[in-house]
């Protein structure tokens, strides 16, 4: 895969939706442990709506797919995850706009999304939020060249797993202090599904 085309973008969202729906309960269980138990429900509702929206439209450009995903997530997810994922996809759409989404553009998109999320959530790396996954992927993309499913999958995975043994200082899990250590961050897990889906799209599109 050289460029992220419309069909790739659509497939990316479809695969992400599938994983989120399949793991709705798991995400909720993770959020019950250190949050309020709605992350799976929120993400499943949001991505379900994203699919409804995308299936009803014809797209010319991946940027428009990202934009519709962003607006849908923003208005259907709620909680912390809604504005954060909404911001991430909005940034992707802005960076992708008017250009082919080649590796450099894509990589910059992820970087911009990461920065958007960090700014919105006032979170840095290592605070046990989905920022940890996005930054791990952004770093890996920066150090690599060309779409590589393994690089994306492994970096996302390490970001997600790295969230487990640290203390949360942002989001709802922060209320737990040290008691948050040893638990996976639900938002990091949903972000992992997003990048795992992307890796699959790359594999299939390769």
């Amino acid at each position: 895969m050289d460029n992220l085309q419309v069909e790739h973008a659509l497939d990316w969202m479809a695969k992400t939706n599938e994983k989120i729906q399949d793991n709705k309960e798991y995400l909720t269980t993770l959020d019950q442990a250190i949050g309020d138990g709605d992350h799976g429900i929120n993400m499943a509702r949001g991505f379900g709506e994203v699919m409804k929206k995308l299936n009803g439209e014809a797209y010319q450009h991946a940027a428009d797919v990202m934009k519709d995903a962003a607006m849908t997530l923003m208005s259907k997810v709620g909680g912390a995850a809604g504005p954060l994922y909404g911001t991430a996809f909005l940034k992707l759409s802005m960076t992708f706009k008017g250009t082919d989404v080649d590796y450099a553009t894509f990589s910059k998109g992820i970087e911009d999304a990461l920065n958007g999320v960090k700014q919105r959530g006032k979170a840095e790396i290592g605070e046990k939020t989905l920022v940890d996954v996005w930054s791990a992927v952004a770093n890996a993309l920066r150090e690599n060249e060309g779409f590589d499913s393994e690089v994306i999958l492994q970096s996302a995975k390490s970001g997600m797993e790295g969230s487990k043994d640290i203390k949360a200082t942002k989001g709802r899990a922060a209320y737990l202090g040290d008691r948050s250590i040893g638990h996976l961050d639900p938002g990091s897990v949903s972000s992992f599904y997003l990048f795992e889906s992307l890796a699959e799209v790359i594999n299939e599109g390769a």
Binding site: G37, G78, G79, A80, P83, R172, Y175
Partner: protein
């Protein structure tokens, strides 16, 4: 999960329908939204007050919509803060040109969604100010983290900022008084049984038959400590003590007290707790100006309670006493 509901994914819409059916003369639903507004919104020349958050905290926040209180409450999914577009609709609906004031409980989700709504509103030329309520002393107040949560103390912000707006206060005056309440209100809660989010279908946490959770959040977030269940007197000592530590009250200070039930704690138990809270305060020479016992900020059918103390001065007392006509706060 046993609940008196239809579809677990439709509880918010169904609830709003039943709420408007109950109080058709005082509130309205903004069509196509989950916003409950005063029937007469926007009120001319009045700052509009908007609050809200996840559902499941009823009567918060729609029960506090009315004269002398909020102009609109935005209901999110259960325990999930509402989205920016919904909050934006509320802002537009209550703006009379005098600006809109947002009362936000300090949760990442609420803050983010309300902030984005404020940005949307400002882009359309609506003046928006806000306050973030963080009364829960169970959580450390730190600028490196999310900070303290907003819980039952929020109701005092609704009441007092609402009274200020109703008597014609400007957007700035409303903001100043709201910040004064936030600076002077502290709460702490405990639970003896969890609650079940309808769409989740299973309890938010588990407690053994002899355990209680101290300092848990109103969304089923785990607390700061899990201990053996204590007597009402001991619970009163613990909760009131933690609040007093933070609020630094002096002899002869005047306060308002709220003993808030989380959902399934009988009023009997709230009164038993209240008796001891008053004893503790009397011992310290702190004067209780007004007491509120009941369900104000719940957590579905969680059993437990919170104690809120608000330090008063003459201005706050006057505003606390002012007329209020919400379905859950009527004075």
């Amino acid at each position: 999960m046993k609940k008196i509901i239809n579809d677990p994914n439709q509880v918010v819409q169904d609830m709003i329908k039943g709420l408007v059916a109950a109080y058709p003369n005082s509130v309205k639903q903004l069509q196509g939204t989950t916003v409950i507004a005063r029937k007469d919104a926007p009120v001319a020349n009045k700052v509009g007050l908007v609050s809200g958050g996840g559902s499941g905290h009823e009567p918060a926040h729609a029960g506090f919509v009315g004269k002398g209180l909020l102009d609109a409450a935005v209901a999110g999914e259960v325990f999930t803060s509402p989205t920016p577009d919904q909050v934006f609709e509320a802002i537009k609906a209550v703006d009379s040109g005098s600006g809109v004031f947002l009362i936000i409980k300090n949760y990442t989700g609420d803050v983010l969604n309300f902030e984005m709504a404020a940005e949307l509103a400002e882009a359309e030329g609506i003046k928006v100010e806000k306050v973030v309520v963080n009364d829960d002393v169970a959580v450390e107040d730190s600028s490196f983290t999310t900070g303290r949560r907003g819980i039952a103390g929020t109701i005092f912000v609704h009441k007092i900022a609402g009274a200020m707006a109703e008597k014609g206060g400007s957007l700035d005056e409303v903001k100043v008084i709201a910040e004064k309440v936030v600076a002077n209100v502290r709460s702490m809660g405990m639970a003896i049984s969890p609650c079940t989010v309808p769409a989740a279908g299973k309890p938010s946490f588990e407690l053994a038959a002899d355990e209680m959770e101290v300092g848990m959040g109103i969304h089923g977030e785990p607390g700061i400590e899990r201990t053996k269940i204590a007597s009402a007197d001991e619970i009163a000592v613990e909760l009131t003590g933690k609040v007093l530590e933070d609020l630094e009250l002096k002899r002869n200070d005047e306060i308002a007290v709220m003993v808030n039930g989380l959902g399934s704690t009988p009023e009997m138990e709230l009164f038993i707790l209240n008796g001891k809270v008053h004893d503790i305060l009397a011992e310290k020479g702190i004067n209780v100006y007004k007491t509120f016992v009941g369900e104000y900020m719940t957590s579905l059918e969680m059993a437990g309670c919170s104690v809120t103390l608000l330090k008063l001065d003459d201005e706050l007392k006057e505003l606390l006493d002012a007329e209020a006509l919400g379905s859950a706060f009527h004075s």
